[in-house]
Symmetry: C2
Subunit: 285 residues, 2 copies
């Protein structure tokens, strides 16, 4: 495995690989890799000739009050994990090459980016779509692998790729959970052991909604209230949002219709740590 840090080098490499007819798979990450990322790498390994994991903590997707400074960093451990999953290249670009002085171009997806997490994280998705566009232009992937934990991100990137006629096929992979049900996230390391216990209520709330749905409940408000009440029973957890939306356009639904993929997404602060989780009913995003 090789670690590439310079953008022109990665671009030339990708160009050469494409010329050779190799199918390139990209796994864009911010590092602090965990088993969720590993599952993306495995899927990438199955579908691609060449697997490129990108590691870049993207400053423009963090708000001023967010955790950019303390976001976990450990390139050595990340590299080891990548080797263990048969990754061919890590692309870990330099910040000054990604955002040189005078940088002023952005890729935006209107509407979809303003809802759910976008409502409380202004500019977040613009940061995501901009950096993903850049990474796609540099790495020239045939396939790009994203986790469904960031469901809204996956929906937005799919829309961006379709709207702007980008080449990459977006592959959305299942959420990976710890034994206690907590969705894996690089931010879980922020949790105290008490918070960690409390955080499982997010998963339990989603399971409760699934059970109610399985028993025939279709009214979104009923589902939301049930989740709301369960989460409210945990004093360490403060809900940011619980939304029940169409899984493709993220528009709120009143009643879940058969055959319509529907996303139940939530975000909550557990102590100072903001976590997200979701389930999809009636299909996939």
């Amino acid at each position: 495995m090789e670690i590439v840090k310079r953008t022109p080098q990665m671009k030339a490499l990708a160009e050469r690989l494409r010329d050779e007819g190799q199918r390139i798979g990209i796994v864009p990450t911010m590092g602090a890799l965990h088993s969720g990322h590993m599952s993306l790498m495995q899927r990438a390994r199955q579908m691609s000739d060449i697997v490129v994991v990108t590691i870049f903590i993207n400053p423009i997707q963090f708000g001023p009050a967010e955790d950019l400074e303390r976001y976990p960093r450990d390139l050595a451990a990340d590299a080891e994990m990548c080797v263990s999953r048969g990754v061919d290249y890590i692309f870990a670009p330099l910040i000054d090459e990604v955002y040189p002085e005078n940088f002023s171009s952005y890729v935006i997806v209107e509407g979809l980016s303003d809802r759910l997490c976008g409502a409380s994280r202004e500019g977040h998705f613009r940061g995501v779509t901009t950096v993903v566009s850049k990474l796609f232009n540099i790495v020239k992937p045939h396939f790009a692998f994203f986790g469904r934990k960031d469901a809204q991100q996956a929906v937005i990137i799919k829309r961006m790729v379709a709207d702007l006629c980008m080449d990459a096929e977006i592959v959305v992979c299942p959420i990976v959970r710890d034994d206690d049900g907590l969705a894996l996230s690089s931010r879980n390391v922020y949790l105290s052991s008490e918070e960690r216990g409390a955080a499982t209520v997010l998963h339990r709330a989603l399971e409760k909604a699934q059970v109610l749905f399985g028993d025939g409940t279709r009214d979104a408000e009923t589902l939301r209230t049930a989740m709301d009440e369960l989460i409210a029973s945990e004093p360490l957890v403060r809900i940011d949002y619980i939304e029940i939306v169409d899984a493709h356009d993220l528009e709120p639904v009143q009643a879940i219709e058969d055959g319509h993929p529907t996303l139940i997404a939530l975000a909550a602060f557990v102590g100072k740590t903001r976590l997200i989780d979701n389930v999809v009913l009636n299909g996939e995003i």
Copy 2:
């Protein structure tokens, strides 16, 4: 020469050409081709193995009060002109494929897009950068040819390509003028013969600035006033702006410095027709 109308077909074709090692040159146009476009095609023919002229009247770069409806259209004449210049493909995509329902992704270049023409044409450059990004993703050009008449557009597209790590090398070609000095534009057909005569004052004003500059004048305000006075002597012409700016970041300059490429750009209404023109001192954009 072949005319391609479907996006997936053009994408597959470009992919195949790239795989064959062909160097692709794109000339993005809105049709109504004239000798200015022909000079772009000639340059493209010299530099590329395959020349693709795109013809698409891009609705999202027109303001609500602008001339989208009456913009001149003549695909047959355009095709003839392309054949005469050895063009390989015209890509004339269908509007519903370029902007399907739910289209919501845009490429923006902040700052540069708000000045000069951007100040009076809100959203114009966002429309341009978005459609050019799409065309680049579809046609996958090695080179892209733009006329320097749209100097701000060229500056913005260069910035977009650099910022977002796009592949195309941007080639900016000289302004082509009629015998009376008027810069060629598809919009010149709107002019009455009286307006047509009056419109030459734009070119004469730029020439006057060049003469003053040649004689040693460096103060931007002096140059602007001289141009302003000359243009004001034509009652059919109303100035939108005259700007003297750095040719790379489009920031206004007070005094033109030796060795610093400087753009003198203007826009004016001649009757109801908005025309633009420019010169670059001390180099190129």
